[in-house]
């Protein structure tokens, strides 16, 4: 055993993005006490460079795809897609945080270190091909995110958010771990492909009830992480309480990574028992869409509204999972990319407008933004239209691919209900447009500061991305199609 344990250089290269992120995160932590307070922006710059380098490393790693560390990690198209996605979300979150951290006079070093550590976890999650690695990645990502949620530690709401997130998150992780334990108990392995082999072989397949229990437990844990109903209760409070750039980050990045894990586990290891879990996902998808959209209708707080909308969007992705096909997987990947962009963009606008102490978060605080800051309003309009699913935006093609996959798998009712849901959703997104363009400027919009450079970048980049995905979707979709068979 011992001699060949040393990883080959190819394996190190496949793990390079995580190494870069971890090293740079540690570097920021060590640097932080040394330059404390003197040049707060440098940590942002360093972390952006680190993430760019990690994106480069991810793409480079894909030139030589394959397993690493005894098959614990699998660098394939799927993993590369999500690596680049979560890193992109990280970059946008950091860009939108410059002004925020300055405004709240918060420490910058730890913030960026935590973001990088969370990204390490997410990258491990999306590359992991084995349940224990998935669990480790999930924990690294979650713990950093728990801390980020309570980063403004004198803010009562942030405290509440962090504590809720932590307690319920650990609870959900326990469910997941319980499921992992049962799976290991009945199959004797934690490797996804090996589990699949055991479950699909009729002679070795364990009792259906035990498999069902394990799948259900893991479903609960993962549904919690992606805020799918009926495990969504935490999301509105946490998203509302956490600092807005952090909300932007955690409603896009960790969520995408959790969905990646969801897809990988359920579409590889548990694919052969798909008829068993499809009803679970079906019900969860419908509940998420309906609860999310209908609860969002009555929200006055913009962050809370976007939180409910994020639950609804998780529902749409679950529809793609319920389709149980490679097309569904590809659709989910595309949707998550489109969703990440519009969501980070929308939250960045909220962060921009909320002002010091995040006091201006009511829907009415957007009144007249279209007059006072036409560019900001126009960019938010793009994101909202993408949320609604108006053509020529990424959100539209995302929905289109998802419902196409669902119809192909004969989920007619889920498709019809989902589409009607998206018409309901139009109402609350329109409310934002209405106050923004059709009301006179209020106190909040008159006091709004000009867009800073970082925020402009954090808004314009996803807006461009939204349009690119809406007008030329096929490049990304083809990659997703190719990657949706995983490393099999």
């Amino acid at each position: 055993m011992p001699a060949n344990m040393a990883p080959s250089s190819a394996e190190i290269l496949r793990f390079l993005p995580e190494i870069i992120l971890a090293v740079m995160g540690t570097f920021i932590m060590v640097l932080d006490p040394l330059v404390r307070g003197k040049s707060p922006k440098i940590f942002g710059h360093i972390s952006i460079l680190a993430m760019l380098a990690a994106i480069g490393a991810s793409i480079f790693a894909y030139t030589n795809p394959g397993p690493a560390f005894s098959g614990m990690l699998m660098v394939d198209g799927f993993a590369t897609f999500f690596r680049v996605l979560v890193l992109g979300v990280g970059i946008l979150a950091v860009l939108s945080s410059y002004r925020f951290l300055d405004r709240e006079r918060a420490d910058t070093g730890e913030y960026h270190a935590l973001i990088l550590f969370s990204l390490v976890g997410q990258c491990v999650m999306v590359t992991a091909n084995e349940l224990i690695m998935i669990f480790i990645g999930l924990e690294i990502s979650s713990i950093a995110t728990y801390v980020l949620a309570g980063y403004l530690r004198d803010d009562k709401r942030a405290n509440e958010a962090a504590l809720k997130y932590f307690l319920l998150g650990s609870f959900a992780t326990a469910f997941l771990l319980y499921g992992v334990a049962i799976i290991y108990g009945i199959t004797g392995t934690t490797n996804l492909s090996a589990i699949r082999a055991v479950l699909s072989n009729t002679t070795t397949a364990p009792a259906g009830a035990v498999v069902g229990a394990a799948v259900a437990l893991m479903f609960v844990g993962l549904a919690f992480k992606v805020s799918g109903a009926p495990f969504q209760i935490w999301a509105p409070d946490v998203y509302q309480g956490a600092p807005t750039p952090v909300t932007a980050f955690m409603s896009a990045g960790p969520k995408a990574a959790a969905f990646a894990v969801f897809l990988r586990i359920f579409m590889t290891a548990f694919e052969t028992v798909g008829t068993g879990w499809e009803p679970l996902v079906w019900v969860s998808a419908l509940l998420s869409m309906t609860i999310g959209n209908f609860a969002a209708l009555v929200q006055q707080n913009i962050k809370r509204m976007l939180a409910y909308s994020s639950i609804a969007h998780a529902g749409y992705v679950l529809v793609a999972l319920a389709a149980r096909s490679e097309i569904g997987t590809a659709a989910a990947m595309f949707y998550l990319a489109a969703y990440a962009m519009m969501n980070v963009g929308a939250f960045a606008v909220v962060a921009h407008l909320s002002g010091k102490g995040e006091r201006r978060l009511s829907l009415n605080d957007f009144a007249g933004l279209g007059v006072k800051q036409p560019l900001t309003a126009a960019l938010l309009t793009i994101f909202l239209l993408s949320f609604i699913g108006v053509p020529l935006t990424g959100g539209f093609f995302g929905k289109f691919y998802i419902f196409k996959a669902a119809l192909q798998s004969n989920l007619v009712w889920l498709t019809v209900l989902g589409l009607l849901n998206s018409a309901v959703a139009a109402y609350y997104y329109l409310r934002i447009l209405v106050v923004m363009y059709m009301h006179e400027p209020g106190e909040a919009t008159l006091a709004v500061e000009p867009l800073s450079f970082g925020l402009s970048a954090a808004l314009i980049l996803p807006a461009i991305g939204t349009f690119v995905l809406g007008i030329f979707p096929s490049a990304l979709l083809q990659f997703a199609d190719k990657s949706s068979i995983f490393g099999r």
């Binding site: 011992p2 540690t26 932590m29 006490p33 709240e104 004198d154 803010d155 102490g357």
Partner: protein, 152 residues
């Protein structure tokens, strides 16, 4: 060699039964056979031998918790050295580099908390443990206040 699951787990069953029987016997025998004396001295905590004084809701310095947590963290990290020490000959240079990386990370963490001023117990520098945002004053509620609030 045991061949079936039942055979494999039979010793476990025996051990579990034995444990239950012994535990139950100890408790019930002392309950049945023991001499019972009831007085106020018997109601006092006897383990440490110190008679408690004052309020149980005593507040410790927050630094105590910080140091406590850090102690546990570094303690656990140190534990990782033991298994490595057992097999380091077989792991050869690979093991050496792995442990080197690990210790490097631990040192980085140590450096970080040191510079953050966590270990300065007495030195009360407000900037060292300054809160990131000095906005909302969190007020501690006196226990009596809570009781009053609960009664309402």
């Amino acid at each position: 060699m045991p061949t079936t699951a039942a055979e494999t787990y039979f010793p476990v069953l025996v051990q579990a039964l034995l444990a239950i029987v012994i535990a139950a016997a100890l408790v019930s025998l002392s309950f049945l056979l023991g001499r019972k004396v009831k007085n106020s001295v018997k109601d006092m905590p006897y383990e440490c031998g110190i008679v408690p004084t004052g309020d149980a809701r005593h507040r410790f310095s927050v630094k105590f918790y910080l140091v406590g947590m850090l102690f546990i963290l570094f303690d656990i990290e140190a534990i990782f050295l033991y298994p490595w020490a057992v097999v380091y000959k077989e792991l050869k240079m690979f093991g050496f580099f792995e442990m080197f990386t690990f210790i490097l990370l631990v040192v980085a963490g140590f450096f970080y908390i040191w510079k953050k001023g966590v270990l300065d117990w007495s030195h009360n520098d407000p900037s060292a443990l300054r809160s990131p945002a000095g906005r909302v004053e969190m007020r501690d509620h006196h226990p009596e206040e809570i009781l009053v609030a609960m009664k309402r």
